[in-house]
């Protein structure tokens, strides 16, 4: 489906055939994108569709493997963010880079070149605040400000440099609806003045409010450029998540056995500014089945993982029951001893210590592994275990017992998943098992998860990769802003239904009052 809506005039910025390859992974594959002067252009796509890669290429953070960028019709190479800014590009990142202890004016001044002094910043700041309705007190310390006010600092910082193209990456993810509406008004005004805007989001309502053209990415390719107001949410969701039916395993349906994990009315406040609160989550995982949890990143997946693993404790014990024991209020060690195993999303720094050798990294799940005895490390047992994992899971290492950071992403992921699977846990909870992993490693990891379930363990896979979930899961639910949809057998889900749940419009279309 290619519904071409061409802009009226010549494009202001044009990307032609942009590709970026990381080893086996083609993050961007021949992307064409044109933005007209004064246009607010949306870039839509699931996580992993290649949005961030594309934006980083445009902003000079990474270099494309192929393709051309044209700025006002003239081919340019953007070698660094400094060069991008000199051209007239401004970028507002999803996560703010501000010094909490410094004032608003100081935070703006540090980002500017040395010609600016604090007095100049102050006067331009009040001018811009007035023009665009971005109320900011120059002398307030940043730590006293709300998320919306902090974002205003980032925007003002860009505007001070008179950008001609402003890129915003998921700008409303930390804003209240009122703050978001305020932001939209500012963007409308900027656009009316001729500033082009590239607006990255996965929230359909916003995109419809702001943009007349949207480019949809999927798996690194442009699947369509559309007018988001002209076609339905259903169609857009289908474009984002793809139409083809997932390859369902042919093996006979098996009868799931006893319940291994029960999550019961789990609520948890957000962990920080960018955190998401978990709202009344309920589901059950049985021995012999894989439960998939789909959703766009940042909708509470890491919070759910922390609550299930015991890194964050709930206030009631019966919220999480593992192997019949209520353990919402007990820590990760005890849960491991109940034969649960966990693999977090972040490989380096969370699942493994980067500067430690693989044998030392086996000690991280020491509570359930035979690598220590009465407080003493069994060095040889740890080394043997590391070797066994390396062999069984085809971990390619530069040396016998290397530091974790010396391994490629895929190989380290095989190692940390292998470390947990090798002891045949009754319950495995894994967050983004194949995130940023090459195709070969991803296949091996998925096979290992399926094998573990077939041998009678319960497996919970939290993933943004729908193809992956359709391939391995027996049951699936979708997480959106900290709430989990009902768990349904994988055959009962259509991609469209998943897409609507991920966009948070399923309830709205169901007729209930949506927030």
């Amino acid at each position: 489906m290619k519904e071409d809506v061409s802009p009226s005039g010549p494009p202001f910025v044009e990307l032609k055939g942009i590709s970026k390859r990381y080893g086996d992974l083609l993050a961007n594959d021949g992307i064409d994108l044109a933005i007209a002067p004064g246009e607010i252009h949306a870039l839509l796509g699931e996580n992993g569709a290649g949005k961030s890669t594309l934006v980083k290429i445009l902003y000079g953070v990474i270099e494309p493997s192929a393709g051309e960028i044209r700025w006002e019709g003239r081919p340019v190479t953007i070698g660094s963010p400094v060069e991008a800014r000199a051209l007239g590009l401004g970028m507002v990142f999803q996560h703010f880079s501000l010094f909490d202890e410094m004032t608003v004016a100081e935070n703006i001044a540090v980002a500017l070149s040395d010609e600016w002094d604090l007095a100049m910043v102050r006067s331009r700041l009040s001018e811009i605040s007035r023009t665009y309705g971005l109320a900011l007190d120059a002398d307030r310390a940043v730590w006293t400000l709300s998320a919306g006010e902090r974002q205003r600092i980032e925007i003002v910082r860009c505007l001070l440099q008179n950008p001609r193209l402003l890129i915003l990456d998921e700008p409303t993810s930390v804003l209240t609806p009122q703050e978001a509406e305020h932001l939209f008004k500012t963007l409308d005004k900027l656009s009316a003045e001729g500033c082009s805007i590239l607006y990255i989001s996965h929230k359909l309502e916003e995109v419809r409010r702001l943009c007349r053209r949207a480019t949809i990415l999927r798996a690194g390719r442009v699947v369509a450029t559309i007018d988001p107001r002209a076609i339905s949410a259903r169609e857009i969701a289908a474009l984002m998540v793809g139409n083809e039916v997932g390859e369902i395993r042919s093996d006979a349906p098996h009868a799931p056995q006893g319940e291994v994990l029960r999550v019961n009315h789990l609520n948890m406040p957000p962990a920080g500014l960018h955190g998401v609160a978990l709202k009344d989550i309920n589901f059950v995982a049985r021995a012999g089945e894989i439960v998939g949890i789909a959703g766009v990143a940042g909708n509470g997946q890491s919070e759910l993982f922390a609550a299930l693993s015991g890194e964050r404790l709930a206030d009631r014990a019966d919220t999480v029951t593992i192997a019949g024991r209520a353990c919402g209020t007990i820590g990760i060690d005890t849960r491991r001893r109940l034969s649960a195993a966990f693999v977090p999303e972040e490989r380096l720094g969370h699942a493994a210590a980067p500067t430690h050798r693989l044998s030392e990294n086996t000690l991280i799940s020491h509570a359930a592994t035979e690598v220590s005895r009465s407080g003493f490390i069994l060095l040889n047992a740890a080394k043997r275990l590391a070797r066994t994992i390396i062999k069984s899971f085809d971990v390619r290492t530069p040396e016998g017992d290397p530091q974790a950071r010396k391994l490629s992403g895929g190989n380290l992921q095989k190692f940390v998943i292998g470390r947990e699977i090798i002891r045949k846990p009754k319950l495995l909870i894994v967050d983004q098992p194949t995130w940023g992993v090459d195709a070969g490693a991803a296949r091996l990891i998925r096979q290992a998860l399926v094998d573990l379930a077939r041998e009678g363990s319960a497996v919970v896979v939290v993933s943004q990769d729908l193809d992956e979930l359709f391939e391995v899961a027996d049951q699936m639910a979708v997480i959106h802003q900290g709430s989990l949809s009902p768990l349904k057998p994988i055959r009962a889900w259509t991609r469209e239904a998943v897409g609507l749940e991920m966009l948070g419009v399923a309830q709205a279309q169901g007729g209930a009052h949506a927030v």
Binding site: R336, G349, A352, T355, I364, G375
Partner: protein
Amino acid sequence: MRFELTPRTTVSPVARALAPVAAFITAFLIAGVVIWLMGRSPIAAFDVYVLQPLSDPWSLQELLVKATPLMLIAIGLSYCFRANLWNIGAEGQYVIGAVFGGWLALRTHGTDAGAWVLPAMLLLGIIGGALYGLIPAFLKIRFGVNEILTSLMLVYVAQLFLDYLSRGPWRDPKGFNFPQSVTFDPAATLPSIMEGSRIHWGAIFALVAIVITAIILGRTLFGYRLKLTGDAPRAARFAGFSSKATTMAVFAISGGLAGLAGIVEVSGQIGQLQPSISPGYGFTAITVAYLGRLNPVGILIAALVVALTFIGGESAQILLKLPLDLTQAFQGILLLCVLAADALVSYRIRFVTRGGGK
């Protein structure tokens, strides 16, 4: 033009091993310039500071005496620093250890209490130091207060408390109004290892602490816990190591060892309580811990090397009329050089000229 530190892609193991030596030479060069600016001969100073103490048997014994508290404190601090927790208040924990242990010595003074007094004093010293070390740990985990500030400020509280005790309630009534307690009884005095030697049992304690620490850090889950907490705190939580418990444990250990150093020094060297019982061992031990790369054997060597500056400083004061403050200044320069050398092993300096980013 400005400087930037950019990480090196590969770190040479030779450079890493030689960094402390380079730091030492640099520190000596800087100190030499300072001494030269003060109108003294840097070469004569080097002779007095380094060569003379090493060529005299009395000084060699003295070296071990001065190195003993440094080893005990630095080995304790290595637990904290490995876990990226900053106990800067060992000097205060040392003083409180001396106060706790000294209290028993004064209580039993003049009685014929038996051989239990000395071990009980040592134990009290450890308990006192550990409890005092737990204050900043508690404030950190309960209220999020920065442990660097609280542990440092508690040093002054401890020093003034000892000052008050020595001038007030614990002053020797027959001491001609000198701010000192009575001299400890033999039962409360830490004996020498050999007859006529200045080296006392504290040196043995320090060696034992070094051996035990080497085993704990290298061979136990607790040692791994500290390393993991320091290198990858999120992975440490994932491994089930509570950061609160780690904080409490390392502050108790480092405080306890500093307290032991305090009571050992008072009962083995000074023999009484007085307002000043340390030439800054608690602070110098931070230098020792880093110079020794937080490694038990490294700390053993570093403590001996740094003890040299104390002895040299005393001789330099007498022979060259150089102020004792210069010793502390030199120890500070040395710490900076060690940290700088470590940084330069992992990072290289890049000069960025203005507009060069274009």
